[in-house]
Symmetry: C2
Subunit: 138 residues, 2 copies
């Protein structure tokens, strides 16, 4: 619980109840979280607008990153790479379980190199794998 305060301080963010609650949710969660997850799981009720703004702040600071999904929902997860204000380096594969719907950051799996047609150049590649996680293997 002190880790939460440390992270907020390191990022020059004032220590507020909402930020502590949301950040500790991320720290204790294995997979990714949506806005709705947070609204549901935060014990002391948080205003939905505060949640929007807190998530935005955390993304800007490089504390969490947005996960691309194929169903156009928006998910967030802790940055484990050395991300900082305005500079994300979360170049890993994301995995969504079709059974439990948990979304994992596969930090250890590098994004594969895709060979593009002549004249095309890559800036960023997002890979989202759908399937069954280890807990739900079919």
């Amino acid at each position: 619980m002190n880790a939460v305060i440390d992270i907020l301080k390191e990022n020059n963010l004032s220590i507020t109840d909402g930020r502590k609650q949301i950040l500790s949710l991320f720290l204790k969660t294995d997979g990714a979280l949506s806005h709705a997850d947070i609204e549901k799981e935060a014990h002391k009720k948080l205003d939905r607008i505060t949640i929007y703004r807190t998530l935005q702040t955390f993304v800007n600071k490089g504390i969490i990153h947005v996960i691309p999904t194929t169903d156009n929902s928006i998910l967030y997860a802790l940055c484990r790479d050395e991300c900082s204000e305005g500079h994300h380096h979360d170049k890993h594969v994301h995995f969504v379980c079709n059974e439990c719907h948990t979304t994992y950051c596969l930090e250890q799996i590098d994004v594969p190199q895709v060979s593009l047609p002549k004249g095309f150049s890559e800036v960023q590649t997002d890979v989202v794998v759908n399937g069954y996680c280890a807990k739900c293997k079919p």
Copy 2:
């Protein structure tokens, strides 16, 4: 323009003005189209709800497919693979140009195989590359 009618007939869809207009837009467009693109470019004005329903119908029939994007917009493009009712096989890489914002289906580029952690199994992999297209190369 007869191709449009042929495609609709092949798929047992009645020939309506809206469907003809939307499908011919897809046939004459290089990249992908959003709902808003269609609303804008259809000359004879189409009701936005008709557009929603027509896109849904075309996706169901395997005439167009939904393209995963990283900015959570929804894009559609013609299926060139042999997709059919309820069975899509659009296993190709998608490319979004950061300059002209055109989204291309790179039919010729296969989705790379990602090696997952033990216990995880793949059902579908989506790859979205952002960068600069041949027309916009920096």
